[in-house]
Symmetry: C2
Subunit: 103 residues, 2 copies
């Protein structure tokens, strides 16, 4: 992830419906597309009983542009129609961070 003094995170938490046909392909496409967006900094994703995807952005404008990107709008609609029983989107501003690496 690129290094930024101040940036934003979008925490996307979801539970899937029983119909996940086409989900993985779309998720991969959306991740690839996000990486081409202006202001994109990074993305981390994991799923157990709940799915959590956190994406990192330079600004609130970058997040807004990504939300309104046309192919992403189609994915969002498909998500609400088919793939998700529930999701929650939280947008938050980084206050501080620290990191550990095993020596």
């Amino acid at each position: 992830m690129k290094n930024k003094n101040s940036y934003y995170a979008v925490i996307f938490t979801s539970t899937q419906s029983e119909n996940t046909k086409g989900y993985d392909e779309m998720a991969n496409q959306m991740e690839a597309l996000a990486k081409t967006q202006e202001g994109f900094l990074g993305l981390e994703s994991a799923r157990d009983s709940v799915g959590i995807t956190v994406s990192y952005w330079e600004s609130l404008d970058a997040i807004k542009n990504w939300k309104q990107q046309s192919d992403h709008l189609i994915a969002q609609q498909k998500g609400r129609q088919d793939w998700y029983n529930w999701y929650k989107v939280r947008i938050c501003k980084m206050e501080r961070e620290y990191e550990f690496f095993k020596s």
Copy 2:
């Protein structure tokens, strides 16, 4: 999760080492302990190749108290010593949120 106008998230991202003995028990204990902490609002967790745990807190003070809680300090030390190759902790302030429920 309790409803709050303004609150904070701790995004804990990690990769595990090969030695995960005792990890699951400790993770369960820490989740139970976090729930008893003043200012705790909720927690979501998932792991694939990367683990993501997001916990939600009323204030930065509540986060600081949790970080310094004595049993949690022991878990953190054990995590650095044995369980994690890498982790990153990000503390961020909620700006806005929205939610979808399948009707």
